[in-house]
C-alpha cells in the first residue's frame, strides 16, 4: 500500500485506503502514483483530471472496474508487461521504451483512451456544469527584429483565420507591440489604456495558473515584472522568461554534465535531475512550487526547451495549455544565434563555451522557427475542449504590422483592409477577456 499524501481530497484518500489502486492495470500505476505523489506540484486542472479518473473507478463495483480495464489488461498480457522491468511507481524512460516498441502499443493507447473517455462521460453525467467555459485568449508575437514575408507568413495557417493590418503607435514601438497589448500604457490611468493582463486579473475566476506569459528573450518578461512590481492587481500571472531562467538552465546542464561519467542508463540521469534541488536557481517569479516543478518537467521532457528560447516558448506554452488550461496565454518569440562552426554536432553544449568566436544572430532562421512554432501553439490549444469555441487567437508579426486573427463569431473584430489601431485591438481583446 503506497503512502497516501495527506493533502489529497478526503474522498480520494478514502478511495485509496479502500484499495482503489489495486484495481488499476499495471500500466496505469506509474502515472497515477506519480501524480498522487506530486499532488502539490499539480495545477488545479490536473487535480480535477486525476480526481475524475480515480473517483470514477471508485464508483464502480469490482466487476464493473474489471470490465472497464479488461481491454487494457488483455493487452498488457499480450505485451508481457509482467515480465518487463516495468516501474509501477513512476514513469521512466525504460517504461516508455518498452511500451513504444511493443507491437501492441497502438492498441494499448486506444484502450487507455477508451478508459478516459468513460471517465469523462461519467464526469459530465455527474457534474454537468463542470465543462462550463469562459472566454479565452492566445496572444502570440513574432517581434519586429524577426523578418517575415508578407506574402507567405500566414500560409501554414491554411486560412483558419484572417490577416489584419494593424497600426502600431509610437508608444508601442519602444515597449514592443505585445507589451503594449498586454500591459497597456504605464503613464495612462484611463481604463482604456490598461492591457489585457489587467482584464484577465479582473475576471471572477482569475488565478495565477489562469494567465501565462512566456518569453523567449527577456524584454516582455522584464516589462511585465516591472509593471507587476508597481501594481496591486492580483493575482499575478505565471511568468516564464527564457533569459530569466538562464541560471536554472545553466545549473541544470552542469548537473547533467557532472553526472556524465557515472551514467549507468537514461533513468539514472532522469532520477538525478528529478531530485536535484532547483530552488536556489529559481528567479522569484518561479518560486511557487507548481511553477518551479513545471519548469523542471519542461527541461526534462526535451523538445529543445533547454536549448533554444523559441522552443522553450512553444513547448512551455503547449504544456501550460495541456496542464493548466489558462484563459490567457501570451507568448513572445526572439532571435537565436547561428550554430557556430564545429559545434553544430554538440548542439546542446553552450556554444559560447565550446567556441570563442562571437555569436552571430540568425534572424531569418529564428523567424522561420517562430512562424512554425506560433502555429504549433495554436494547434496545441485546439486539442482541448476549452479552446474550441470561445477562444480568440492573435498572432502579431511586427515587421509587417500585421496580425493573424482566429476568432469565433461573437468576437467583435471583423476583417478590414484599413489598419486597425493597436489601441483598438487591445480594447477589444480586453473586453473579450473581461
Amino acid at each position: 500500500m503506497p503512502e497516501i499524501p495527506a493533502d489529497l481530497p478526503i474522498e480520494l484518500q478514502h478511495a485509496i485506503a479502500d484499495g482503489l489502486l489495486e484495481r488499476l492495470p499495471l500500466t496505469f500505476l506509474p502515472f497515477v502514483q506519480q501524480q498522487l505523489r506530486e499532488w502539490d506540484f499539480l495545477f488545479p486542472n490536473e487535480h480535477k483530471s486525476v480526481q475524475r479518473l480515480l473517483l470514477y473507478v471508485a464508483s464502480l463495483t469490482p466487476a464493473q472496474s474489471a470490465a472497464l480495464f479488461s481491454d487494457v489488461v488483455q493487452l498488457e498480457e499480450k505485451m508481457g508487461v509482467r515480465t518487463w522491468q516495468f516501474s509501477t511507481t513512476e514513469q521512466t524512460i525504460q517504461n516508455s521504451s518498452l511500451l513504444a516498441r511493443s507491437p501492441y502499443f497502438q492498441q494499448w493507447r486506444q484502450a487507455v483512451q477508451a478508459v478516459f473517455n468513460a471517465a469523462d462521460a461519467y464526469a459530465i453525467r455527474t457534474q454537468p456544469n463542470a465543462a462550463a467555459t469562459r472566454n479565452r485568449l492566445v496572444l502570440l508575437d513574432i517581434p519586429g527584429h524577426l523578418p517575415v514575408e508578407r506574402a507567405t507568413v500566414w500560409d501554414r495557417w491554411q486560412g483558419i483565420g484572417f490577416a489584419q493590418p494593424v497600426r502600431i503607435p509610437d508608444a508601442a514601438r519602444t515597449s514592443g507591440s505585445l507589451a503594449f497589448l498586454l500591459l497597456g500604457e504605464p503613464d495612462h490611468d484611463a481604463a482604456s489604456s490598461t492591457g489585457v493582463l489587467r482584464a484577465s486579473q479582473q475576471h471572477a475566476e482569475a488565478a495565477p495558473a489562469q494567465a501565462w506569459i512566456i518569453d523567449a528573450g527577456d524584454s516582455l518578461a522584464q516589462a511585465a515584472l516591472r509593471r507587476l512590481a508597481g501594481s496591486t492587481a492580483k493575482p499575478a500571472p505565471t511568468l516564464l522568461g527564457y533569459k530569466e531562467l538562464d541560471a536554472y538552465r545553466q545549473k541544470f546542464s552542469q548537473q547533467m554534465n557532472s553526472m556524465r561519467k557515472d551514467l549507468a542508463d537514461a533513468d539514472a540521469v532522469y532520477d538525478r535531475l528529478r531530485s536535484v534541488d532547483v530552488r536556489p536557481w529559481c528567479p522569484p517569479e518561479v518560486a511557487e512550487p507548481s511553477v518551479r516543478e513545471f519548469v523542471r518537467s519542461l527541461f526534462l521532457s526535451g523538445n529543445g526547451a533547454v536549448i533554444f528560447g523559441n522552443s522553450f516558448v512553444e513547448w512551455g506554452a503547449s504544456e501550460a495549455l495541456r496542464r493548466a488550461r489558462p484563459a490567457l496565454l501570451v507568448a513572445q518569440f526572439d532571435v537565436r544565434p547561428r550554430p557556430k562552426p564545429f559545434t553544430g554536432v554538440a548542439v546542446f553544449d553552450n556554444p559560447d563555451q565550446v567556441n570563442p568566436l562571437p555569436s552571430v544572430d540568425d534572424p531569418q532562421g529564428s523567424s522561420l522557427d517562430a512562424q512554425m512554432l506560433a502555429l504549433y501553439i495554436w494547434l496545441a490549444a485546439t486539442r482541448y475542449e476549452e479552446y474550441q469555441h470561445a477562444t480568440v487567437c492573435v498572432c502579431l508579426a511586427d515587421s509587417i504590422a500585421e496580425a493573424y486573427v482566429i476568432a469565433p463569431p461573437e468576437f467583435a473584430l471583423t476583417r478590414s483592409a484599413d489598419p486597425l489601431p493597436l489601441e483598438s485591438l487591445r480594447h477589444q481583446l480586453s473586453a473579450w477577456l473581461a
Binding site: 478516459f116 464526469a123 536549448i307 512554432l373
Partner: protein
C-alpha cells in the same frame, strides 16, 4: 467534455516518451555509454590487408543512403521540393522512384535502420544496446558469399546507433560476419569534449587547430570510446583505416565549407569508398534530426545538406572506377515526422502512428534500374534487404520482406 486528459497527453509526452526526446538534453551521456558497448576480437591489421581481390557474388555493389526522419511535406511535396533541388532535378530523372516507402515498425532510429538492413521489423532496445535479432545484409553477404569484412561498412552520423547495428544476435550469423561500423560525429563530439576539458576551446575557432583536435581524439588512449567497430576491435585503429580517417578529417576541415556532422560523415564515406571500395556500404545521415530541438530552420537546412551530399555521393559513384556501372544507390528516410498539430509536437518527433510518420519515399539510381520511372505501389522498408541481398547474389533467407521485382542485377 474533455478531449484530452492529463493522462492521455502525459501518455504522449512522458509515459511513452521515446528516448530521443530525452536525448536532446543528455545525448552525449548516452553516447558515452554507447561507446562502451564495442566488442570484438583481434587481428585488425591482418584483416585490413586481406582486402578481397575481386567483388564477391554478382559483382554488384550496393550503397544505401539513409537520411533520418523527413516528412513528405518538406521534401517530395509541392511546397517541399525547394529543399531538395538535387534529388528532384539532378537525380530523379534517372531514378526509379517509389513515392510510398512505408515504415510499419518502430519509428525510432535504431529499430528503423535495423529493419531496413534485416528485412524484418525489429523491436529491440531503442538505444542500440541489443543487436537486431535476425541477420543483417552485411552478415548475409559475408556468410553466403565468403566476403571479407572490408566489403561491408556502415558510416553513420546518427547518435542513436551503436556498433550493434553491424551484426545481429542470430546464432548462425553474428559478429563474425558483421560490418565495419564508424560514427564520424562521435569523433567530433570527443574532440569538442577534450578541447573543453583541456581548456583549449580557442582551438575550435581555428580550422587548423580543429584538425589537430580531431586527430588527437582519433589517436586518443582508446578509440573504443568512439563506439566504432572496425576490423575487429582492439586498442588501436588499423593504420590504413586511420589514414583514411585522417584524410577525411583534412578534407572536412580544410574545405572551408559547412562543418556539420553529416559533412564529416560524407568525407569519411568517400574515403572509405576510395580506399576499400566496399560492396555493401550504408551511410546514415542525421543533420535533419536538429528537428528534435525545435528549430524548423535547422531541420530544413539539414534536408538541404543531405540533398547535396546524396548528390555528391552519386557523383563519386560515377567517377570512381570501383563503382561506376556496377552500383545501385538507394536513398530513403528512416521515416517521416509527426504531423503538425499532433500531440507529439509535430515535426519535432517521429512517434505518431500517422501517415506523416510512416509513409515516406525511396529513390534508387544505377545499375539495377532498367529505366527511370515512378512506381506508385507502396513498398515496405522490410522489402529492401531481400532486394539488396538479391542484387548482391545472396541466397534468399526467411524474412518478412519480399524482393522488389523492379530491380535487376
Amino acid at each position: 467534455m474533455e478531449t484530452d486528459s492529463s493522462h492521455r497527453t502525459r501518455d504522449d509526452t512522458a509515459l511513452v516518451e521515446p528516448p530521443e526526446a530525452f536525448v536532446d538534453i543528455s545525448k552525449r551521456n548516452f553516447l558515452r555509454a554507447a561507446g562502451l558497448l564495442v566488442a570484438g576480437s583481434m587481428l585488425p591489421q591482418l584483416c585490413a590487408q586481406q582486402e578481397a581481390a575481386s567483388t564477391p557474388g554478382s559483382g554488384h555493389k550496393i550503397i544505401v543512403v539513409i537520411i533520418g526522419g523527413v516528412r513528405r511535406a518538406e521534401t517530395f511535396a509541392p511546397q517541399g521540393v525547394q529543399n531538395i533541388p538535387h534529388l528532384t532535378r539532378d537525380l530523379l530523372p534517372d531514378a526509379l522512384f517509389f513515392p510510398h516507402a512505408r515504415n510499419e515498425g518502430v519509428t525510432a532510429h535504431f529499430n528503423a535502420i535495423a529493419s531496413i538492413l534485416t528485412g524484418n521489423w525489429q523491436r529491440v532496445d531503442d538505444w542500440g544496446k541489443l543487436a537486431p535479432t535476425t541477420p543483417t545484409l552485411f552478415e548475409q553477404f559475408r556468410k553466403d558469399l565468403g566476403a571479407h569484412r572490408s566489403e561491408t561498412w556502415m558510416v553513420a552520423s546518427n547518435k542513436a546507433l551503436t556498433s550493434q547495428i553491424g551484426a545481429s544476435s542470430s546464432a548462425q550469423y553474428g559478429e563474425a560476419y558483421g560490418a565495419n561500423v564508424v560514427f564520424p560525429k562521435q569523433l567530433m563530439l570527443m574532440a569538442v569534449e577534450e578541447a573543453l576539458r583541456g581548456g583549449r576551446t580557442a582551438s575550435m575557432a581555428d580550422r587548423a587547430k580543429v584538425q589537430a583536435e580531431l586527430e588527437s581524439a582519433l589517436e586518443g588512449s582508446n578509440y573504443e570510446g568512439l563506439g566504432w567497430n572496425v576490423f575487429d576491435a582492439s586498442d588501436q585503429l588499423d593504420p590504413r583505416v586511420q589514414g583514411s580517417i585522417k584524410s577525411a578529417i583534412a578534407s572536412f576541415v580544410r574545405n572551408d565549407g559547412p562543418t556539420s556532422g553529416d559533412e564529416l560523415t560524407f568525407y569519411m564515406t568517400r574515403e572509405i569508398m576510395r580506399k576499400f571500395a566496399p560492396s555493401v556500404l550504408t551511410v546514415a545521415f542525421s543533420d535533419v534530426e536538429a528537428a528534435h530541438f525545435g528549430s524548423f530552420a535547422m531541420h530544413l537546412a539539414g534536408i538541404r545538406t543531405i540533398d547535396r551530399l546524396a548528390w555528391q555521393l552519386w557523383q563519386e559513384v560515377q567517377q570512381n572506377p570501383e563503382y561506376r556501372g556496377k552500383t545501385t544507390m538507394f536513398i530513403l528516410p528512416e521515416f517521416g515526422r509527426d504531423p503538425d498539430g499532433s500531440s507529439t509536437n509535430g515535426f519535432f518527433n517521429h512517434r505518431a502512428n500517422e501517415e506523416s510518420t510512416r509513409d515516406s519515399w525511396m529513390m534508387a539510381l544505377g545499375a539495377a534500374v532498367d529505366k527511370p520511372q515512378v512506381i506508385e505501389r507502396p513498398i515496405r522498408h522490410v522489402d529492401l534487404c531481400p532486394t539488396f541481398a538479391g542484387l548482391l547474389g545472396c541466397r534468399p533467407i526467411d524474412a518478412q520482406g519480399v524482393r522488389l521485382g523492379e530491380f535487376h542485377a
